[in-house]
């Protein structure tokens, strides 16, 4: 399901127009990005948690030419599914 369809469904369910819903969704995305860049964890009950994780730098070898590279550290976004949702999906 793409973004457009998701907005449509939610708009119908909460009885607001699509522009409002899209605005709220954009707001949520901004808030998530904001909080995660502050390294905060966002927990949504019944759904899961969003977390920013730091990955250490590491040395990898290119299997085709044997060249070794130093991959820099990075902070990446991760999502952990909640047990409730996990059991629903099983």
């Amino acid at each position: 399901m793409n973004n457009k369809k998701l907005v449509e469904i939610i708009a119908k369910k909460i009885g607001r127009n699509k522009t409002d819903v899209q605005k709220l969704l954009d707001g949520l995305v901004t808030v998530l990005g904001d909080e995660l860049s502050k390294l905060n964890t966002i927990v949504v009950p019944g759904f899961g948690s969003f977390e920013a994780k730091k990955k250490n730098e590491r040395i990898v070898t290119n299997p085709s030419n044997g060249k070794r590279m130093l991959i820099p550290p990075k902070i990446s976004m991760s999502y952990k599914v909640s047990n409730v949702l996990k059991n629903k999906i099983k």
Partner: protein, 376 residues
């Protein structure tokens, strides 16, 4: 102050508040929306559908085969049945936003004689050493940059670097990495001194090389080990830097600011590119960007996820100061709540409006101004 509370847990009520504030809507609407949103995503996932959200990423399902495992308590062999699990793939824009403090880093190809054991050993030796340097925090962060930067980037750092000591070191490492790989070609390149950017990079580096050729030959091993030491030292600091989560917030601002400065410096470099032909010109190039950097105007682009408030936090350290960005760009922005993505805004100098994130008076002033702007 706010940013010192690191690694906080944002609960659902917090999230409702934050979304309500960000979208200027009531808490009730925000709550209804968020509940419905997550319920819908969960329902779609349970139905086996993939859900993607613009700017955030996509949630999808994948099958996991059954596998054997051992019950850790009883030691019995058990079989984990095959099941489905949720995979989240973050959108490019949000991962870039989150990775902003490390955005300057790039992968580096290591030399063949680079010893991994030495890397780990030196790393351990360096770790305690770096802990003592708590006072020289800013310098430490800047030294960290040369760690994984490729030669062209290191060059830019040299120009924007205010401290003299790291400058020296980055120059050294620049000579080391470039000339180590292709010393003979570099000399030729400097004599040709073509106009293309790549060749300018070469000639720039080879000017150093010519100047210090005899020196280089004499101390080749010394310099090489120095470079490796700097790299390892940086790696040690990077590790330590993450243990100090509380200090992180203040520091995250640094790379961001440095980045926009680098952008400015970069354009100056290309403008001056043609003049990089002689060793003499080399000196003038080094000074010119620094001079014009202070005069150059910092601009930034508004995107779907980068609003005025966020730009303000990025550049000034507090979101309240968005009013000054708005003030400076009044002619381009009609409604500060709905700035068209892609709008390039001028970021005024912090001193122009007396912006100080540590001064509550300055923040209160910005808040008053915001009320005035939003009220009118």
């Amino acid at each position: 102050m706010l940013k010192l509370n690191m690694n906080k847990k944002i609960t659902f009520p917090d999230l409702i508040n934050l979304v309500a504030v960000a979208t200027d809507s009531s808490k009730r609407i925000s709550e209804v929306f968020l509940k419905e949103l997550f319920a819908t995503i969960a329902k779609e996932l349970a139905d086996g559908e993939t859900v993607s959200i613009n700017g955030l990423g996509s949630f999808s399902l994948t099958d996991v085969n059954s596998r054997k495992s051992i019950n850790v308590n009883t030691g019995e062999e058990i079989e984990i049945p095959s099941h489905r699990k949720v995979i989240f793939t973050p959108d490019k824009s949000i991962s870039e936003l989150i990775n902003a403090p490390f955005a300057e880093f790039e992968s580096v190809i290591l030399d063949d004689d680079f010893n991994e054991d030495a890397f780990e050993q030196d790393d351990e030796q360096n770790a305690p050493q770096s802990e003592k340097e708590e006072v020289g925090e800013e310098v430490v962060i800047k030294e960290e940059k040369p760690l994984v930067l490729p030669p062209p980037f290191t060059k830019k750092i040299v120009k924007t670097e205010p401290e003299p000591q790291p400058q020296e070191e980055t120059q050294n490492s620049e000579e080391g990495t470039i000339s180590d790989k292709q010393p003979a070609e570099q000399v030729v390149a400097s004599e040709l001194s073509n106009d293309s950017e790549a060749n300018n990079d070469n000639s720039y580096a080879s000017d150093f090389f010519d100047e210090e050729k005899s020196f280089w030959e004499e101390y080749k091993t010394l310099i090489l080990s120095l470079i490796i030491f700097i790299v390892l030292f940086g790696a040690g600091i990077a590790g330590w830097y993450f243990y100090c989560a509380n200090k992180f917030a203040v520091e995250t601002m640094l790379p961001n600011q440095a980045k926009s400065e680098i952008v400015a410096a970069d354009s100056v470099i290309t403008a001056n590119a043609d003049s990089i032909k002689t060793t003499l010109a080399n000196d003038s190039v080094k000074q010119e960007p620094v001079k014009s950097l202070t005069k150059s105007v910092i601009t930034d682009t508004v995107t779907r996820t980068m609003f005025l408030t966020k730009l303000s936090r990025k550049h000034y350290g507090d979101y309240h100061f968005w009013v000054y960005i708005y003030e400076e760009n009044k002619d381009k922005i009609s409604n500060p709540n709905a700035v068209a993505p892609g709008t390039v805004v001028v970021i005024p100098d912090a001193s122009k409006y007396g912006i100080d994130k540590n001064n509550p008076v300055s923040i209160a002033k910005a808040q008053q101004k915001a009320e005035k702007i939003l009220g009118k």
